[in-house]
């Protein structure tokens, strides 16, 4: 038992909590103190925050050591890791649990906090009060302290011992019992995207704190206008990173899950999408304010809203309230109350502060002209907020039910039955509005522009847009009116911003961030429209069978049943299922399951023969190597006009944490479209198959015969053997082994049934199965008088797999657009950070 490290960790958590409170208090004193004592309080606040930083880092290191050293006496290590996870997955184990993900969030906050202390001298005290308070709340979530007297548990500690977390009789007999291995990381999360997606997302959350902290500090210190300057670059950085984090999650889902897409409008996804939209809106109003002095109040409201929405999403995903509505929210750790207090503290605090200061906030009385840039930006920001609002309302349905049940009303409201269809139908039009507004808004760069000038500016992009649009519909054959509108808007957005980009590159490339980001959005809109709107099931099975007597309707089947080595037609391809494969741990490629034998260690197999993959030799016969036993890959060959165009390896993973198995797709990527294939039902190999009736056949040595009327076979030799599976025979026993050659569809197989006479009278027969052909051969008898052998043949249903395949056109435009958007964010952020640095020099 390693008690010390857990105690050390817990001590660090408590220290982190106390130091964050001390830091908040000291910084608060620094804002109110007189000039003489101000520096001393500042110093105290700083030291306390450094202390806090150190403690948080100590907690992180301690928890990681527990995981890395496999101390399974700790609940966290036991329930999230095991001893054969590779190092980088141990890292993702760290944030697999709720406590660890809080810790990840705190980790980014302390780093950002230290950067703020070092760079934002004039804002340090008030903004760090907010920072330290946020940290105090977050630390309280992993405190794991029971307040005596009222028996209130504060937070859930990651350093809890297994015996305290799980009530198992073994701990009564053996208090020091340590399991030999942990339960492991959900294999679904053993994916490189899961190593980088959560840290990116939480960094995005963390980066959204500085703008909020500056805004609150500005209101509090009555520096109503000045806060925007330091806040803007951080907001841009947050917008980029959070957007990247969200899209990484989408990409992981596309590659690993099998719902056929990258975005499912699940409440957990919506919960981060909404704050991101509002964050982007706040960036726009801040830019407007910097340029023209309008929209200050809107910037304040939106900046506060972003942070509050992040807290709301934390509550939604971690309180268990989404239970029935979401497929991937966290379980309730009993933190709902604490999470609510966290949410309401900042919600009420920010609202009260804003109300008190509202009258004093300067606002510009002049009406923005329709021909001003401000008007269009403001319009865009409003659209983004409404876009978020539309998602937020239905996502909160479980919350309404809960609230109603608190006042005694039983509500049976359920989320929309088809989430994807429901959200898409609204978001599509918001997308169109965003495209038109941000496409047009770019032409008001030079503030003074009138109707005539606008016409002149618009004429070229409008022409180009129409030409490109016409080309697209001619090639892609879009007929649905809504999609036509979306395509037109998307093209317009790209073309108009490309025009602005071209003129900016000549003028000053540093200013091109906005135009680039908008081009990225336009590409994403078009990519989403095609890949989602024109995604089609290509494994469609128009057999039109009657399903049941009760239902006189014919159903088309979206899935396709493939028997091994029996080609089928699909989407212009010839499709053939070739069998089950393993993935070796240390080499890239796939290994036929029939070419290896199991060992006592489930991770290791022995090669039965030389193993080749795509012409290169992976292993020689008799080699022992490691595999991933939980994963089975189903090799499916795609051929076009007789030529192999791809081999697909969709995966099925035995995963008890997800309730049985999980299928992941294999994607054949082409520039214009992805072909997305996943297994929807694998054959259950653990069940004993149903064998057909025994067929008997008398053959002579070398004589050709047919199995199942299609496989040419012949008996090649019959030899006497002295041992069976390595076990020597007793002296009075006699055994012979037949070697029967069977020509399969693609491969030649050898069956080796054994005929055995024990103690001179007892007959034993060991059949030999050819898995890929679904036949079992038995040497039934030897007939010396006619020189014949009696062979028994049993057949079963051949191996099969049920697959579903989808086509996703132009999905690469979406990924490319994402990249362009990120570049745009970066360019804009660099510019604003430089601006802020220069403004500091001026003072």
């Amino acid at each position: 038992m390693h008690y010390l490290i857990g105690n050390l960790g817990h001590l660090s958590v408590v220290t982190a909590f106390v130091t964050s409170l001390v830091s908040a208090f000291a910084y608060w004193k620094a804002t109110t103190a007189t000039l003489q004592s101000k520096d001393a309080w500042l110093q105290n606040g700083r030291v306390a925050f450094y202390g806090h930083t150190f403690s948080v880092l100590a907690v992180v290191v301690t928890l990681f050591v527990i995981i890395q050293q496999h101390y399974f006496e700790y609940h966290y290590a036991y329930s999230h890791s095991d001893s054969h996870l590779p190092g980088y997955y141990l890292l993702s184990t760290f944030w697999n649990g709720q406590e660890g993900s809080f810790l990840l969030w705190m980790f980014w906050h302390v780093i950002i906090g230290v950067v703020l202390i070092k760079t934002q001298k004039s804002w340090e005290a008030p903004s760090m009060v907010v920072f330290a308070l946020v940290q105090a709340f977050l630390t309280s979530m992993i405190l794991g302290v029971v307040i005596p007297g009222i028996n209130l548990k504060l937070g859930s500690s990651p350093f809890i011992l297994l015996r305290d977390a799980i009530n198992d009789p073994i701990f009564k007999l053996q208090p020091d019992f340590i399991p030999k291995d942990g339960q492991g990381l959900n294999p679904l999360l053993q994916n490189y995207w899961m190593v980088i997606h959560p840290p990116t997302l939480f960094l995005g959350f963390g980066l959204a704190l500085p703008p909020f902290a500056f805004c609150i500090a500005g209101l509090w210190q009555k520096k109503y206008m000045e806060w925007v300057k330091p806040a803007l670059p951080w907001a841009l950085l947050a917008g980029g990173i959070l957007g990247l984090g969200i899209l990484m999650g989408g990409y992981w889902a596309y590659e690993t899950l099998n719902f056929g897409g990258y975005w499912n409008w699940d409440p957990v996804e919506n919960a981060v999408y909404v704050p991101w939209l509002v964050l982007v809106a706040s960036i726009h109003t801040m830019i407007t304010y910097k340029n023209s002095g309008t929209a200050l109040k809107a910037s304040i409201i939106l900046t506060i809203a972003v942070f509050i929405l992040l807290l709301y999403q934390t509550f939604l995903t971690r309180s268990g309230i989404l239970g029935d509505a979401s497929v991937h929210s966290f379980t309730d750790l009993g933190l709902s109350g604490q999470l609510l207090i966290y949410l309401f503290f900042f919600l009420v605090g920010a609202i009260v502060l804003s109300i008190i200061r509202w009258k004093e906030i300067p606002s510009s009385e002049k009406e923005a002209s329709v021909y001003s840039r401000e008007f269009w930006i403001f319009l865009g920001a409003t659209t983004l907020c409404l876009m978020g609002f539309q998602v937020l309302m239905p996502t909160s349905i479980p919350v309404y039910n809960k609230l109603l049940s608190l006042i005694g009303i039983q509500s049976n409201l359920a989320p929309p039955a088809n989430q994807v269809e429901f959200y898409s139908k609204f978001q599509l039009w918001f997308g169109v509005a965003v495209a038109i507004i941000s496409g047009t808004g770019q032409f008001f760069w030079w503030k003074k522009i009138d109707k005539q000038k606008l016409k002149n500016e618009l004429i070229t992009p409008a022409m180009v847009t129409l030409i490109v649009f016409a080309l697209i519909i001619a090639f892609a054959k879009i007929y649905k009116p809504t999609y036509l509108v979306l395509t037109l808007a998307g093209v317009y957005l790209i073309v108009s911003n490309a025009k602005v980009l071209l003129s900016l590159i000549k003028l000053n490339p540093k200013l091109s961030g906005g135009a680039l980001a908008h081009i990225g959005v336009g590409m994403m809109l078009i990519g989403v429209m095609f890949s989602a709107g024109y995604s089609k099931v290509v494994s469609l099975n128009n057999s039109g069978m009657l399903i049941s007597k009760e239902l006189p309707t014919e159903f088309n089947r979206d899935n396709l049943l493939l028997f091994i080595n029996e080609p089928r037609e699909m989407a212009g391809y010839e499709l053939e299922y070739l069998g089950e494969r393993y993935e070796p741990r240390h080499k890239s490629g796939y290994v036929n399951k029939n070419h290896v034998d199991p060992t006592n260690n489930p991770l290791k197999v022995v090669a039965r023969q030389d193993i080749l993959f795509k012409g290169t030799k992976l292993y020689s016969a008799k080699d022992t190597f490691e595999i991933y036993p939980e994963n089975t890959y189903y090799e499916i060959e795609l051929r076009k006009n007789g030529k192999v165009s791809a081999s697909l390896f969709p995966r099925v993973q035995i995963n008890d944490q997800m309730g049985g198995f999980v299928a992941s797709p294999d994607i054949k990527r082409k520039l214009s479209r992805d072909l997305y294939t996943h297994v929807s039902l694998p054959m259950n190999k653990s069940e004993e198959p149903e064998w057909g009736k025994l067929e008997e056949l008398k053959v002579q040595m070398g004589e050709e015969f047919y199995i199942n009327a299609k496989y040419t076979s012949s008996l090649e030799q019959v030899t006497r053997i002295d041992e069976i599976d390595g076990i020597p025979l007793a002296p009075e026993d006699v055994a012979v082994k037949a070697k029967i050659k069977v020509q399969g569809e693609r491969e030649t197989f050898y069956a080796e049934p054994i005929f055995l006479i024990r103690s001179k009278s007892q007959v034993g027969r060991i059949s030999s199965e050819i898995n890929d052909l679904g036949v079992k051969l038995t040497l039934l008898n030897i007939l010396p008088e006619t020189n014949e052998f009696l062979i028994g043949i049993n057949a079963r249903q051949k191996d099969w797999v049920v697959i579903k395949a989808l086509e996703k056109p132009l999905i690469n435009v979406l990924w490319l657009g994402t990249g362009v958007l990120m570049v745009g964010f970066c360019v804009a952020m660099v510019r604003r950070f430089k601006e802020f640095e220069e403004s500091k020099k001026e003072i």
């Binding site: 198992d168 029935d324 009406e367 923005a368 409201l413 399903i547 979206d558 899935n559 049943l561 944490q657």
Partner: protein
């Protein structure tokens, strides 16, 4: 009227449309009798029904019928009022189906058969604290 007022009215208008549409498009949790009632009144919209699979005395799940080609299946579901109903699902059986404690089906009646478009499963094993596998 100032432009900003028109703007504000427009925003409020859109917000109201959103709220109404949320209320209108949201589904409801009902039992089979209510679902049948809805369908016989001509409604084809999807609703949620929560229920449990039928089991025999040994706790074995009964009433599952797979199609010959494994591409679809039907099962019996008992709602919270105790009414058992045959449900058809035009997809292969989900892997954790037989282990699920509760099944939420989203779909509607077609004649006397409930056709599920989507199935959500609540599995006991997924999140609950498991018993320790002592001796491992």
């Amino acid at each position: 009227m100032k432009k900003s007022h028109i703007f504000a009215i427009a925003i409020i208008g859109v917000a109201i449309v959103i709220i109404i549409s949320t209320a209108g498009d949201s589904s409801t949790y009902v039992n089979f009798d209510e679902a049948y009632q809805l369908a016989s009144n001509g409604s084809t919209s999807s609703i949620h029904v929560v229920g449990e699979l039928t089991k025999d005395a040994d706790g074995k799940i009964t009433g599952i019928e797979k199609s010959a080609d494994n591409l679809s299946f039907s099962f019996m579901l008992v709602d919270d009022k105790g009414k058992a109903q045959k449900v058809f699902y035009n997809e292969p059986m989900p892997p954790d189906f037989l282990r699920s404690e509760k099944v939420v089906i989203i779909g509607s009646y077609r004649n006397d058969l409930f056709v599920a478009k989507k199935i959500l499963l609540k599995c006991p094993s997924k999140y609950q604290e498991q018993k320790l596998n002592a001796g491992v």
